[in-house]
Symmetry: C2
């Protein structure tokens, strides 16, 4: 508690950042076991903020909070939580509390919550649901993870082609099982095939007697139920869509995806790219120290192998280094510059692939471009490091060696930076996966090989 | 053209990826100067796809396309383009074409288009607009760039507190200047202060006689007009908002921000983080080779300074390296592992700051955590590289030196990886800006210093 009060003073207040008072007060309510006080207090906070609170406190405090809150807990809080964390908490909750807490969630949120649980625990949670909800969730789980089928909601707002605006509005007024929020009415033909969407704003502006078919927006896109969630998110972003009907193989309407779900996927995908490029998996701040250490180990292990490879290259030139120790001093410069230049190209390539700006139509042009950018910066930095090598050791040929190695390595860096992600993408792998390590392996090996190789040839 | 046909075969077809046939056909229409054919052909494509087409073809082809298309061009295409590119194209277009093309765009799109133009060109484009539009755009431009004021649309759908559902719907049916799409009606008091929102889905479900005040959703958030766009995007994502009213200092309604704008900002912000971490600025594939070379130069220049710094550290140990050349062979391993571990921590920290998961309430806990993860992985890899050093050169103390340096450097990597972004953030700088280079400077210097320092002390 003391520590908390301290850090609070040190950091300036930020918009939307969790107030330390939220954490402080909840921990206080737990300490004195004041259930009613806490429930009343938390009513003023959005479930997403309470989920963040869970992520910020210690594991023992999380359990204590769940226990004190009990059946009054808001299921939305679980839906907003990190998946690993919600799974851990659900596991410890008795069946009757699970059933009470998940009662108000929509199907797609429940699917999101249970899809990563292990089989036994998943069944236990599903058994706690009402039978209708359970069937709907099981149906969604039949679609592969990461597809539109998992993302879509099954609560639909649709109208047949022959209705007019008035009939549609009357129907909406009478319906009792509509989703909480919706933005369009999907117009379907007798075979359940969507033929267009009517945005609610259009419906409200039109006269009651207008035929739906006259105001329907036929320039709409349907999402195949098996489409990957990355592509769904891309489509929402590219075409500024608010909602899109999901169809099965026979083109029949089976569900609807709304922009909030797409926005979440878009954020997750960018997050994944950043983390893969940075050499970390899907970790979060709520992971334990041991879990984090274990997660990061393979990436570091892979880097160890590539750096030992670089060392083996250096070892071939031991005699050269022994003769001119300046080489040992200067050699990290070439490798380090190559690594940086390669990472630059790689970063641009990974993003361009994600936004589909880098395609088969311009791949060759971009490869040529990156090689040329590498060559140009290589020439500039060759001149600079050439001078450094010359003036530092007063030995002109050392500058020449540095300059030659620099040009070669920055060109190779550009090529590796663009080719590695393109090749991974061609094999349908994530272009960010392991590509940082692959590119720096190339630039390390080429950097040391070129520098020490040119040195051996030119200086002796 | 031949090259295009070639690459088309090499890459598998992807969903939503630009078809090579679109590029091919448009270039064909330009070649034969078939204006009508091209206009007819492009009607089937979304403006966002045509904008992508512009980004994929060569600069001369872009100008030719703009010239052939002329006044028939869809302004939306410009709104969807990379900002640098749309600016270049606008500059070359005669006034009458500009005025025709931008006529149908909404205010916020025009603002987005002209805000980065230089003053003279901006005035020329604004003069081409109709007077009402021009005033609205100039008003928006008064707000600082990157704030809610620039992001919001000024076309509002609002209703006074005393109306009922029927009156509101009748008002919407009669209004002529409503935005193309909207999702909520903002209910305001006589002082123009928003007191709640009625989602259209609620409006449609309610009976005509229901008072607006009875169905208004009072749990809504208003956005201050000066709020930064990052925070706006964060709020939309955190609270699953579809639209939010923007208010001025006196809490009066001045505009509205919708989710599609927030989604774009969210994507841009993640993109910016990735690029800053990768050591590139705001570059895109449409930049020329020279512009790209110039953009990347400062990042590489900064890296050169840090790697020369590392070389200076190594130079202090020239005598040691001359005596034991194995040190030169093994020294990159420690530095490279440190760089990787530091980048891992940095990546997690930058993302956690962006999602506001890393706050003043848990900063100390996370710093301790990263130091411990560094220590644990340091111990594991110390054992591994200790063995490598021992078996490679058959020299036990070399293994000990490697192991000690590894533990120290991985701990320092964890600390630098978390402290650098936290300190940048405290000074209100972007935590991703230059932090990669700073962290690897620390791990390079500490890596070489520890390894060669321990070697000097232990081996001699």
């Amino acid at each position: 508690m003391d520590e908390l009060a301290d850090t609070e003073k040190e950091f300036p207040d930020r918009v939307y950042e969790m107030q330390a008072s939220l954490v402080h007060n909840v921990l206080m309510f737990i300490e004195v076991q004041n259930k009613e006080g806490m429930i009343e207090f938390l009513k003023d906070y959005h479930p997403a903020d309470i989920a963040d609170l869970f992520e910020q406190i210690k594991p023992t405090q999380r359990s204590a909070l769940v226990e004190l809150w009990g059946k009054e807990m808001d299921g939305e809080v679980f839906a907003e939580m990190d998946e690993g964390l919600s799974g851990d908490l659900l596991e410890k909750m008795p069946d009757d509390v699970v059933s009470e807490v998940l009662r108000d969630l929509e199907t797609d949120d429940v699917v999101d919550l249970v899809e990563d649980l292990e089989k036994g625990e998943q069944n236990r949670v599903l058994e706690a649901l009402e039978v209708g909800e359970r069937i709907a969730v099981r149906n969604s789980l039949k679609y592969p993870e990461g597809t539109a089928g998992r993302l879509m909601a099954r609560e639909l707002v649709m109208a047949p082609t022959h209705w007019n605006v008035g009939q549609t509005i009357d129907h909406l007024r009478k319906s009792t099982n509509l989703p909480m929020q919706f933005y369009d009415v999907v117009v379907i033909d007798p075979m359940s095939k969507p033929i267009g969407k009517v945005p609610l704003s259009t419906l409200l502006r039109a006269q009651r007697s207008t035929a739906l078919i006259d105001v329907v927006d036929e320039e709409f896109r349907t999402i195949p139920v098996g489409q990957s969630q990355e592509d769904v998110a891309y489509a929402f972003n590219q075409y500024n869509m608010v909602s899109a009907p999901v169809v099965d193989e026979e083109n029949r309407l089976v569900g609807i995806i709304t922009m909030d779900d797409a926005m979440e996927v878009l954020g997750d995908e960018a997050d994944e790219d950043i983390k893969l490029l940075g050499g970390v998996g899907d970790e979060s701040l709520t992971d334990t120290i041991l879990a984090t250490t274990r997660q990061r180990f393979p990436w570091l292990g892979f880097n160890l192998i590539t750096s030992v490879l670089a060392s083996i290259v250096i070892a071939q030139f031991s005699a050269t280094i022994e003769a001119v120790v300046a080489l040992a001093v200067l050699m990290p410069i070439v490798a380090s510059m190559g690594g940086n230049a390669g990472t630059q190209t790689l970063t641009v390539a990974v993003r361009a692939l994600a936004t589909k700006d880098l395609t088969s139509a311009n791949a060759w042009r971009v490869i040529r471009r990156e090689a040329l950018v590498g060559l140009l910066n290589g020439l500039i930095f060759a001149a600079i490091v050439g001078c450094i090598g010359y003036f530092w050791y007063g030995f002109p040929m050392l500058g020449v060696v540095l300059a030659l190695a620099m040009v070669l390595n920055l060109m190779m860096a550009g090529l590796a930076g663009i080719l590695v992600p393109l090749v991974l993408d061609r094999f349908n792998l994530d272009p960010a996966l392991g590509s940082s390590a692959l590119v720096t392996t190339v630039t390390d090996v080429v950097g040391f090989l070129a520098f020490l190789g040119f040195a051996t040839v030119i200086l002796f």
